[in-house]
């Protein structure tokens, strides 16, 4: 295990989280088209950042920084990491951030078509998931994790976690589509709002039952209980933020411009949604790490063994 690599991976993951917040601020301020060109802003590298250009160009600057950090992270991984699949994930992270940048450019050049904007927002979450995963895979707790006995007579945690993860990801896609389907001065489409509410219910059920199963079956395994507890706590906050975001968003079409608290609450909702997603990813990865595949004899899979020098 390389402590420096793990710390840097955590730093990149934190920077990615900040980037998601910066992107959410662009959407909530209706600043996505503050400049019609890309990659330059009004033909300049550093335009005067007034009005909505502050949010749009600021987002681009943060994104560029994260892109650079991802390049460094990939090089760091290729130099220090021996596990082939982690090396591949490092390369994938770089490709994902490049694709994300290009999608950002596309959505500006095509004037924010719903499909491209939603894809941009969704890929942001997947990239965040990738950087967090790299931080998990390079951590000491991952390397030193001990296998647990096989679960018997119950629905395997692997399945529960995977179901929760897929449900959250679908919910993120619906949320991204909802956010980009109407600007602050338009009402949100009813169908999408209802779908998002239904998604929230599905996430509550799947994630809640998953966390409950973890706490009940492995109460002393902090490796699993910590992310499970964190995910549930974040989910509670997220549900409250979702209700608050809807209430403020309901009134925003009467406002002359995007205003607080609508901006801050909707951005917090996006950010918290990302945290729910990654905490569930951590839980899922760790479940796969320490619990054997259902029906198989427990053994330390070579995939998860860290042949570190």
């Amino acid at each position: 295990m390389n402590r420096g690599l793990n710390r840097f991976a955590i730093f990149v993951a934190c920077a990615t989280f900040f980037l998601i917040i910066a992107g959410a601020l662009v959407t909530s301020n209706a600043a996505g088209l503050a400049t019609p060109d890309w990659p330059l802003s009004n033909g300049q590298f550093f335009p005067k950042m007034v009005g909505n250009l502050f949010w749009e160009h600021g987002h681009r600057m943060v994104a560029t920084t994260v892109g650079m950090l991802t390049i460094v992270l990939m090089i760091y991984i290729l130099r220090k990491e021996k596990r082939q699949w982690v090396r591949r994930l490092g390369i994938f992270a770089l490709l994902a951030v490049i694709a994300q940048g290009l999608l950002g450019g596309l959505t500006v050049k095509l004037m924010l078509p719903l499909a491209v904007s939603s894809a941009h927002a969704t890929l942001a979450q997947l990239f965040f998931c990738t950087t967090v995963s790299l931080a998990v895979f390079t951590s000491r707790s991952w390397i030193e994790a001990r296998p647990l006995p096989q679960e018997k007579g119950t629905l395997p945690l692997r399945y529960l976690c995977t179901a929760a993860l897929i449900t959250i990801f679908l919910q993120l896609i619906i949320g991204a589509t909802l956010r980009h389907s109407a600007t602050w001065d338009e009402h949100l489409p009813t169908e999408l709002v209802l779908t998002h509410i239904g998604g929230a219910l599905a996430v509550t059920i799947t994630l809640g039952s998953t966390a409950f199963a973890v706490l009940r079956r492995h109460p002393n395994e902090q490796f699993l209980t910590r992310p499970a507890t964190l995910a549930v706590l974040l989910l509670v906050v997220q549900l409250a933020l979702g209700i608050a975001a809807y209430m403020t968003r309901l009134k925003s079409p009467k406002d002359p411009q995007p205003l607080n608290p609508m901006i801050s609450i909707t951005v917090a909702h996006v950010a918290c949604g990302a945290l729910v997603f990654v905490s569930t990813i951590v839980l899922t990865l760790r479940t796969y790490r320490v619990l054997p595949a259902p029906g198989k004899v427990l053994r330390r899979s070579t995939m998860f063994i860290a042949p570190q020098p």
Partner: protein
């Protein structure tokens, strides 16, 4: 390099080429009246008979919503030039409503021909839309199809003009302070095209594009007069900004030769002289809205 890495590289390159192709294509393409979409094209039937006028006053019944103060702190230039910038969606003075777009929608001329069968020459003079004090002046305006729209920036800050039409081509262009005017035209009739400034999200304007010249915007006193109207019977529409789709009233009027027809409209809570509000004005934002449920 293994197979999976190669696949990702190919996908990445393909996406890059797509983005670059889009960038080179130019998202801010101009729309200066290409003949292909000129609605005046084809056999023309020019009107040469007697004309009259339509005049009236647009009223607002009840208490209008109070204008809201706009927060300009995001751009200090706006606050310095226009410290008391207010919303302009409902401008009422002494019960009279400004910024209402009144136009002939359809009808029959006195000689029995359909109004829509006639064609009208495109004016050579241009219509100006100025950005002054971080708001659009005028707030509502009308142009004919292919008539030049001259957009100017009188502010010491940059603006971003972004019409969002449904029938015409959308464009989005930055205009720096001191930059020369931007000239555009719309090739299809469209009621009404919202115009935004993506740098200053409170800035809004509406442009009505018609094939004919028979439209007006009510002044501060709510009054309007449309002159040179062929004698005949018409459906006259008054549109005002409000809600997600705008609000319209219609009225049938008969314009006598060398005479004047009166068409007063009223909006607001206690309006009685109007017909059914239209939801067809801006079809692209006809989402089922939560506010309507």
């Amino acid at each position: 390099m293994n197979k999976q890495t190669k696949v990702w590289l190919v996908l990445s390159i393909a996406l890059s080429l797509l983005a670059l192709g889009s960038a080179c294509g130019g998202g801010t393409s101009t729309n200066n009246g290409g003949p292909a979409n000129n609605s005046n094209a084809g056999p023309s039937l020019l009107y040469s008979g007697p004309t009259g006028s339509i005049s009236g006053v647009v009223s607002y019944n009840g208490t209008p919503p109070a204008p809201k103060k706009i927060d300009t702190t995001a751009d200090p230039v706006c606050g310095q030039k226009n410290p008391n910038l207010m919303t302009e969606d409902t401008v009422v003075k002494d019960g009279k409503l400004a910024n209402t777009f009144i136009y002939i929608k359809e009808g029959t001329t006195a000689d029995g021909k359909k109004f829509a069968d006639y064609t009208w020459a495109t004016p050579t003079d241009e219509v100006q839309l100025d950005q002054n004090g971080c708001h659009y002046v005028p707030h509502v305006l009308g142009v004919q199809v292919n008539q030049k729209l001259k957009i100017t920036n009188s502010d010491a800050t940059q603006h971003n003009i972004h019409p969002t039409p449904k029938l015409n081509q959308e464009w989005n262009q930055t205009q720096a302070n001191g930059a020369p005017p931007i000239e555009k035209a719309f090739t299809r009739a469209e009621i009404l095209i919202p115009v935004k400034c993506n740098q200053h999200p409170w800035m809004k304007s509406y442009i009505g594009v018609l094939k004919h010249p028979f439209f007006k915007v009510s002044g501060a006193d709510g009054a309007y007069t449309i002159t040179g109207v062929p004698a005949g019977t018409y459906t006259v529409v008054a549109w005002r900004e409000g809600g997600a789709t705008g609000e319209e009233k219609t009225m049938q009027v008969t314009v006598p030769a060398n005479g004047s027809a009166k068409a007063d409209f009223s909006f607001g809570g206690a309006a009685t002289s109007s017909t059914t509000p239209s939801l067809k004005m801006m079809p692209a934002i006809e989402f089922p809205m939560l506010g309507k449920h």
